[in-house]
């Protein structure tokens, strides 16, 4: 399952990002094309106050949104050894190194524990800017360890997905992470530990086709691209234009593939309520 570079960057509104089109303090929303105060956007967790367009946020911002305050980052040092010795337009090792300096992370996921409205939880948060949020052996191992900790501590698990799928540069090793994680989720399921999967823009390929679709609840942010095959692959296969809204959260909801679509500002209270429902009071 490939990860594709997006043709246009929607979202990433951090200072210095490519989509900053107006100088300084103003930004043009990719949803409604209106000019908005950057501060208003930040105060609203990168959701356009005018049209509710949800821009992408990075893994750390997501954790800050969900945890009560401080949280502990786990397995932070894990780094891929480049087992295939893979070279594309540049060696994979160099790509990893440049991604490390760009994001401050060693791979495309932060695993952390902390509390959510007072309840101890494990949260895995994917970083879309690290090679498209793609899943190789490090992402696979970090999620599997988080699941094992959830079982050992009987703490609910939340995984926030933002990924183009399995990482090409680690070949079939990436593919097998799908089976490894799904096997661990079988054990989590047997142990009756709550798992909430949050799908964000974009979640495709082997990530959707494994842990992202295996939550006790699968919920998504509005307007997120979610699917198995990427839209361009489908267009090439069927040789016709895709309908408007195809593979967006609302489309999946309509087809019975999501439990709900939850706006970013309601995400934490939603999860807190769900955990109170499944696990009882804190």
């Amino acid at each position: 399952m490939p990860w594709f570079k997006r043709e246009k960057t929607i979202g990433t509104l951090e200072a210095g990002a490519k989509s900053v089109r107006t100088e300084g303090l103003w930004l043009k929303c990719e949803g409604c094309r209106q000019i908005i105060w950057k501060k208003d956007l930040e105060a609203n967790h990168q959701v356009c106050p005018k049209c509710e367009n949800h821009s992408r946020i990075d893994a750390a911002a997501r954790l800050a949104l969900l945890f009560d305050g401080e949280y502990e980052v786990l397995d932070a040092g894990l780094t891929s050894s480049d087992p295939l010795d893979f070279v594309d337009s540049k060696p994979y090792r160099e790509r990893l190194a440049s991604m490390r300096s760009a994001t401050g992370l060693t791979d495309a996921l932060i695993s952390a524990c902390g509390t959510l409205e007072g309840r101890p939880v494990q949260i895995c948060s994917m970083e879309p800017k690290f090679i498209g949020g793609s899943m190789g052996c490090v992402v696979g191992e970090k999620i599997t360890r988080a699941i094992e900790r959830s079982i050992a501590q009987r703490a609910p698990l939340i995984i926030v997905s933002a990924s183009g799928g399995a990482r090409m540069q680690e070949g079939a090793i990436s593919l097998m992470q799908m089976a490894k994680i799904s096997g661990a989720l079988m054990r989590l399921d047997q142990a009756a530990i709550t798992y909430i999967s949050v799908l964000t823009d974009q979640t495709t390929g082997g990530v959707t086709a494994s842990f992202a679709m295996l939550g006790d609840l699968n919920i998504a942010e509005p307007g997120a691209l979610i699917g198995f095959a990427g839209p361009r692959v489908i267009e090439q296969t069927i040789r016709q234009k895709l309908p408007d809204g195809f593979q967006r959260s609302e489309f999946l909801l309509k087809h019975g593939m999501l439990d709900d679509v939850v706006p970013r500002k309601e995400l934490k209270p939603y999860i807190a309520t769900a955990l109170r429902f499944f696990c009882g009071p804190v």
Binding site: T79, A172, S174, L175, M176, S182, S210, A212, L214, A229
Partner: protein
Amino acid sequence: MEPQPVAAPEAPPNEAWQRVQLARHPKRPHTLDYIQRLFTEFHEIHGDRSYGDDPAIVSGMGFFEDRPVMIVGEQKGRDTKQKLYRNFGMPKPEGYRKAIRVMQVAAKFGRPIVTFLDTPGAYPGIDAEERGQAEAIARNLREMARINTPIVCICIGEGGSGGALALGVGNHVYLLENAIYSVISPESCAAIIYRESARAAEAAAALRLTAEDLLRLGLIDGIIPEPPGGAQEDADAAAACVRESLRWSLDQLGLLSAEEIVAHRYEKFRQMGNFFL
């Protein structure tokens, strides 16, 4: 464009690409060719009991040397009409749902399961997305992990990414000598990294998708030899090779209890991809 990849175009004949050609050879035996040669009294079991019956996946009951086994495999077509009927071996969600349904009924009655992997990939289409292709594959991965009878998986041709893995969570996973197993097709990979699908041969080498590569990386359990020139030269001989491995696996796995079978499969996949600095 940025610097060119190291794999030089004048490199000696590319072994990985030759394997890709053999894995996709138009005369290569398909799932039904093996079923016919390996099992007696095979009766197909159709449908997912929810939406439809996917001809890209064949499943059913049969006997392997008098032992009852459930069989599930991806089926490509031979001629144009068959290819269209089988959707070129690209399953839809209802195919994967049929597959797990029959595996679960097999497990209920203590029957081992044999799967044949042979697909370019799960079907990428509007209808497949609407009916939850990703959910169907994901569910199979989790539910195969739970099956408490032996599962033996044999990749006989193309192991096309998640579309193959959805039948591939086995206690023993074999590749035929000239089969491949990959996260992405060499053509798609080349289109991404070289912006040119014509350079698929280089991508095939980079992806480490041959049986030897996968065994070395600890992702499969064994390689089944093929007759000289490849399985397409002699389907009977290829099936005879598969028979030997299948008998050995069913004998070995038959010694394990239901709990041991689940643990054995789990631990094997748990160790995959320990490539950290």
